[in-house]
């Protein structure tokens, strides 16, 4: 099985993730209502709907893979202008930039792009690992991705490992106290609740794993 993706495959992957996130938005809505302001479900559904619309509106939704991913970052953040919208937009934009010039992307490229995105998030948003954010799902996911690359895993196994690690990371946020964003205003009371952004990341990776394992 292939361990690279061309633009068309990336479009399909993102579309699959988008479907899943729109379908499961209520779970995120509820988590964000507990810890934040309850709009994360709306944010992901608006952001991914904007991406789907953009893909549908473009004759050849492919083109250069780096530019495509970058553009979807802009689309996501303009379509869903909340914290997560801006930050996940940054993930895609930074990820796209880090793939500059590639025709096809490898699993290692994906791990590297996710790492670049993580760094950019920390710079943009000022959060650290352990602050109870989406970073705490991305960080273990990257480690799992690298390990999967080392182990010559299939693309499906690669995303499955990343998804599981992200989910564990999301679970672990329950024990953390929010240090940043809306949830930080809850101070001690934030303990015990799962970070909705971390769960969103885990959910996306799970959708990616399902999609690539099917294939």
């Amino acid at each position: 099985m292939a361990t690279t993706m061309n633009t068309q495959q990336v479009v399909e992957l993102i579309t699959a993730v988008a479907e899943r996130m729109i379908a499961d938005k209520d779970e995120l809505q509820k988590l964000d209502a507990e810890l934040g302001d309850g709009d994360l479900g709306r944010t992901v559904s608006r952001g991914f709907t904007a991406i789907k619309e953009d893909i549908a509106a473009t004759d050849d939704p492919g083109g250069d893979v780096d530019k495509f991913i970058y553009k979807q970052g802009k689309t996501f953040s303009n379509g869903a202008p909340s914290s997560f919208g801006a930050l996940f937009g940054t993930v895609l934009m930074t990820g796209g930039k880090s793939l500059r010039g590639k025709e096809e992307i490898s699993l290692l490229d994906i791990a590297d792009a996710t790492q670049a995105a993580l760094n950019a998030l920390m710079e943009r948003g000022g959060a650290k690992i352990g602050d109870k954010t989406m970073l705490d799902a991305m960080h273990p996911a990257i480690a799992a991705m690298r390990k999967a690359v080392e182990d010559d895993a299939s693309m499906g196994a690669f995303f499955r490992a990343a998804a599981d690690a992200a989910q564990q990371g999301a679970e672990d946020t329950k024990d953390m106290q929010s240090q940043i964003g809306r949830a930080s205003w809850q101070q001690q009371r934030s303990a015990g609740k799962m970070d909705p952004g971390a769960r969103a990341i885990a959910m996306m990776l799970d959708a990616a794993a399902n999609h690539t394992q099917e294939g």
Partner: protein, 336 residues
């Protein structure tokens, strides 16, 4: 959901269309961008422009302070949501008069990120210089050793007023920024909620609160507060709003201005009942009040409750506070 609206998805654009129809002499769109509202005569060449922005549902905040002596423009988000990068950038471009732009925005993640990204855009694409000051006045949202994490509430209006007056004097960006920072260093807020509001696109109250309950320190989007208690008397409530402010900033013997603000449904009558006790409590600390603002300045649609904002004054701040200002929502004439 009891609201006067058409399609909930059109709540904000229809509101903006009504606004522009009502006040064409004072407000216009930022170019083609409906979600950017700027002064009708923007840009003012050579003047530092001040913009703010944030979610809708808080009128007169944010766009209500676009006007002479205050803001030049406002990027408008959906109800309780940030404006997008493109909307902010369009607003910046429409107000930029060549002397730089100050972002004066509440400390909310989405807004902070999107305004920063827009500042990057206009820096790279239009060579517009942008400075940013975050409003973080709500003492309920973080302890004083983490004051920079606090959220921004009604205190932003004092920052608009003070920085706006300095900009109107044609001072450079650094001075306008410094004035906003000084105003905010002297400003603290604290709120109480008695009843929830409904985000039109959601259709259900943002939080549940019992018929005999109130929550001290709740945020203006229903963010959880410090303490949920039985409904107290007006005298007790105003004390519960004042005390955390007095613990956070030394006001004893000084002069202040204050804003006693209804979150929407709470009537003005009840603000005056609280004010009666408030001046008593302040007098006991030898704190004198200049130009109290009592009314609806920063709301959460039909939320029931109130907030208290205090800004400590010196001669400079007092002069800038007293300067005239005018918008369709805020008119401080030469008389008062």
């Amino acid at each position: 959901m009891k609201k006067i609206l058409n399609d909930p998805e059109n709540y904000v654009p229809e509101m903006l269309e009504g606004l522009l129809a009502a006040h064409p002499d004072r407000l216009k769109k930022a170019g083609d961008e409906l979600y950017g509202i700027v002064r009708a005569d923007a840009p003012t060449t050579g003047k530092v422009a001040i913009i703010t922005g944030g979610g809708s549902g808080h009128l007169p905040v944010f766009l209500g302070y676009v006007g002479k002596g205050m803001l030049d423009g406002c990027a408008v988000g959906d109800v309780f949501a940030s404006p997008s990068v493109d909307q902010v950038a369009a607003t910046i471009r429409a107000v930029s008069g060549g002397a730089g732009v100050l972002h004066l925005i509440g400390n909310y993640g989405g807004d902070v990120l999107n305004f920063a990204a827009a500042a990057d855009d206009v820096d790279m694409e239009d060579d517009i210089e942008v400075a940013t000051v975050l409003v973080a006045d709500d003492v309920a949202s973080a302890p004083s050793d983490k004051a920079d994490k606090r959220r921004g509430v009604a205190g932003m209006i004092y920052a608009f007023k003070i920085a706006g007056a300095v900009a109107e004097e044609m001072k450079p960006l650094a001075d306008v920024k410094a004035a906003a920072e000084k105003a905010l260093a002297n400003t603290r807020s604290m709120g109480v909620a008695l009843g929830a509001c409904i985000v039109p696109q959601v259709g259900e109250p943002t939080f549940e609160i019992g018929d005999d309950e109130m929550e001290i320190g709740m945020g203006i989007h229903g963010e959880q507060g410090l303490e949920r208690t039985k409904l107290k008397t007006a005298d007790e409530i105003i004390e519960a709003l004042l005390n955390p402010i007095l613990e956070d900033i030394d006001l004893e013997g000084g002069e202040i201005t204050l804003m006693l603000n209804s979150l929407g449904a709470t009537p003005l009558e009840e603000l005056y009942i609280m004010y009666r006790k408030l001046v008593e409590l302040l007098a006991a600390k030898n704190i004198t009040v200049h130009r109290p603002y009592i009314g609806r300045f920063a709301t959460s649609m039909e939320m029931m409750g109130a907030s208290l904002t205090i800004m400590k004054l010196d001669d400079d701040l007092k002069r800038l506070l007293d300067a005239p200002a005018n918008s369709p929502f805020f008119d401080q004439s030469q008389y008062a």
